[in-house]
């Protein structure tokens, strides 16, 4: 039998029907739903008189619009409130399980899925959200879809798709002390560009990935989409199988053992051919910081803001000039001398317990700089919050001057009340530095959790190892 990649195997396992024209019908094992991209899908079902084909394959959670302050006060913004209520009523009407705002398991959908074991190796998983790529860290084929496709999956449990190509990113280590998987993925995007992975499933491999924790792998896969790839993937190993054990929606006993046998097959065969490959030696990687309005505009902490004349081509020069203007930066400014207004630690990229531990280790015994107007820590889920509190991390953050919040997407995209004001500059552990992403006129720099914490302490971008 021909050697196959992990993506090939996942594709083959879920192929319902292959058409002569190259399109295929693939089966979807799980759909995750949130309030922003589902209302029109449910409305479509209702208009057509259709029902979900397999209610049990869906899980819903409100995350984008939820307040991160006192939940008992409800949602103040009436438009946000209506959207969350619409999810509640749609789930009730169509019989879909929902972790509502008051549920301790509520959180960012991409943190909740793996945490609950709703995400499992070998599955196909979709969500109306581009960061669905995150779940690929567990050896699942997971990708974001639009609302029409959300409706399509609800109605048919399938998607019409064309097979993607195979891309492998090999990261060789060891990763230096204090450098995070966030630094690795930012460096990868800097290398391949934001459309380098378009049309591909992006598998991460190599010693630095094997040595990375499952949560760190989720950070890598989360931002595959920022490199253009809808799906990020990491092959299953013993760390994956251990991670799955004991999670609420994972089978137990002999059923677990049977599943684990199948899960261990979820790796690329040694001889499998990839259509495109990149390799990056991360053994000397330095902390990464984005300077512009696209995740590919990234440099290391030791660099200066680049000169648009050095952009790869003429069209890019224009983009770089525009980005510098939007960001309010001058070429040649050392990255570690850029003063910040706000810090955001959280999001589906870096809102898990290991991220909070890394940030807390830096914040411990220190104080947020006086120039920082706000430093937010937003756990990825209620259970992450509970775990962090049991370790005393909330106290570490509060004592240092950070705000400790309720779980949600929060200031990653500012659909709730957490946002930047025009012109404000933020060190963020999220995934997108687009214009206005964290608030109208706001300026976002993407960094790791440790760097975000270090930046809060000094008021500028700072190598956490040098604190």
């Amino acid at each position: 039998m021909t050697a196959r990649t992990l993506y090939d195997k996942l594709w083959d396992d879920h192929l319902v029907r292959q058409s002569d024209d190259g399109t295929a019908l693939i089966y979807i094992d799980r759909q995750l739903l949130h309030e922003v991209t589902s209302p029109q899908a449910f409305a479509g079902l209702r208009e057509a008189g259709r029902q979900p084909r397999r209610r049990a394959a869906n899980l819903a959670v409100a995350d984008h619009n939820v307040p991160t302050t006192d939940r008992n006060a409800g949602i103040v913004d009436p438009v946000s409130r209506l959207q969350v209520q619409t999810l509640d009523s749609n789930c009730a009407e169509f019989g879909i399980t929902e972790f509502d705002m008051a549920d301790p398991r509520q959180g960012v959908v991409h943190v909740v899925g793996p945490e609950q074991g709703v995400t499992q190796p070998g599955m196909t998983i979709v969500c109306g959200d581009s960061h669905t790529a995150t779940h690929g860290a567990l050896g699942a084929l997971a990708f974001g879809i639009g609302t029409s496709e959300v409706e399509h999956v609800l109605a048919t449990q399938c998607l019409v798709a064309r097979k993607m190509q195979n891309l492998r990113i090999t990261l060789t280590g060891p990763l230096p002390e204090g450098i995070a998987s966030k630094d690795m993925i930012l460096a990868v995007i800097g290398l391949i560009g934001t459309s380098g992975g378009t049309g591909y499933a992006m598998e991460f491999a190599g010693s630095a990935v094997r040595e990375a924790s499952i949560e760190a792998r989720m950070t890598l896969c989360n931002m595959a989409i920022e490199g253009g790839a809808r799906a990020g993937l990491v092959g299953v190993d013993e760390a994956t199988v251990s991670y799955m054990a004991g999670r609420p929606y994972v089978p137990s006993g002999s059923a677990f053992d049977n599943a684990a046998v199948a899960w261990r097959e979820m790796v690329s065969d040694p001889d499998a051919a990839f259509d495109l490959e990149f390799e990056l030696d991360v053994s000397r990687l330095r902390p990464q910081v984005t300077w512009g309005t696209s995740p590919e505009m990234v440099v290391s902490i030791d660099d200066v803001v680049p000169d648009p004349e050095n952009a790869p081509d003429g069209n890019r020069t224009q983009d770089w000039v525009r980005a510098l203007e939007y960001m309010g930066l001058e070429s040649g400014t050392p990255i570690n001398q850029i003063p910040l207004d706000k810090v955001f630690i959280g999001a589906c990229t870096n809102g898990r317990i290991e991220d909070l531990r890394a940030a807390a280790a830096v914040a411990n015994g220190r104080t947020v700089a006086s120039g920082i107007k706000q430093a937010l820590v937003v756990p990825g889920s209620g259970l992450v919050k509970r775990q962090a509190e049991s370790e005393g991390l909330d106290e570490v953050f509060r004592n240092a001057g950070f705000e400790w919040r309720e779980p949600g997407c929060s200031m990653c995209l500012a659909m709730n009340a957490d946002r930047l004001d025009p012109g404000e500059r933020c060190a963020a552990t999220s995934n997108r530095n687009f214009e206005g992403r964290q608030g109208y006129g706001g300026r976002t720099h993407l960094v790791s959790p440790a760097m975000a914490a270090a930046a809060a302490i000094t008021g500028c971008f700072t190598d956490p190892n040098e604190l």
Binding site: G22, A56, D103, A255
Partner: protein, 220 residues
């Protein structure tokens, strides 16, 4: 979905690469639970000089006259032209709904992000990829004193300029037919109900854990 019919229009040149869906329709408008009403907020942060809010009447808002969508004759355009990686970032289908609401049924770019590209077809919008040199020519001509008018003919897979240049474009047959006939994807898939059923039956034996009932509203 309305069938895609051959039409001609002025081309709106937005000379940037990596135009993300946050720029096409900013997050505050995603709070809507409707599929329409996004046209006035297409490229909101570039098009207006203030911060827009959902439900706001846009007619009195200060416009950014430097942005093409506010300039004659481009504001009459029903075809959008951009550079590489158009529609990157968030999966929000609202980006396509905003383009369609504005009247744009065709986007021409050097390349598209995957999710946006798929979303177009679900809404009767045609994304066309052209080589860099052709994109350059179109920008040059469109930004000259004589903006280009294009005819989009999906049936023939051809773009024809007002001076007779013809650009052929590729599209997969399935998507082309869906657009031309305005077909409902879900109904098409449901024709294969038996195959879906067979797959589920077979898979439930091979991998029974995938079919365990997920729902439980019990709290931990």
């Amino acid at each position: 979905m309305d069938p895609f019919i051959k039409y001609s229009s002025i081309v709106i040149p937005v000379d940037r690469s990596n135009i993300d869906t946050d720029a096409i329709i900013p997050k505050q408008f995603l709070k809507s639970v409707e599929k329409s009403g996004f046209g006035d907020n297409l490229f909101d942060a570039w098009r207006y000089l203030d911060q827009g809010e959902p439900g706001e009447d846009c007619s009195d808002r200060p416009r950014n006259e430097a942005f093409v969508l506010n300039q004659e004759p481009y504001c009459q355009g029903r075809i959008l032209l951009a550079r590489e990686n158009f529609g990157c970032g968030s999966s929000r289908e609202h980006a396509v709904w905003a383009l369609r609401d504005f009247g744009i049924r065709t986007v021409i770019a050097g390349s598209f992000a995957d999710i946006f590209f798929n979303n177009c077809f679900k809404n009767g919008v045609l994304p066309i990829v052209l080589p860099g040199a052709d994109i350059d020519w179109l920008f040059n001509r469109d930004l000259s004193d004589e903006p280009v008018e294009l005819e989009v003919d999906l049936e023939r897979q051809a773009l024809t300029t007002d001076d007779g240049r013809v650009y052929r474009f590729e599209i997969d047959d399935f998507k082309k037919n869906c657009l031309l006939q305005g077909l409902d994807d879900i109904a098409l898939t449901l024709r294969h109900e038996n195959e879906i059923q067979d797959y589920e039956t077979r898979r439930a034996v091979e991998a029974p854990w995938l079919f365990g009932d997920l729902p439980s509203t019990d709290r931990v």
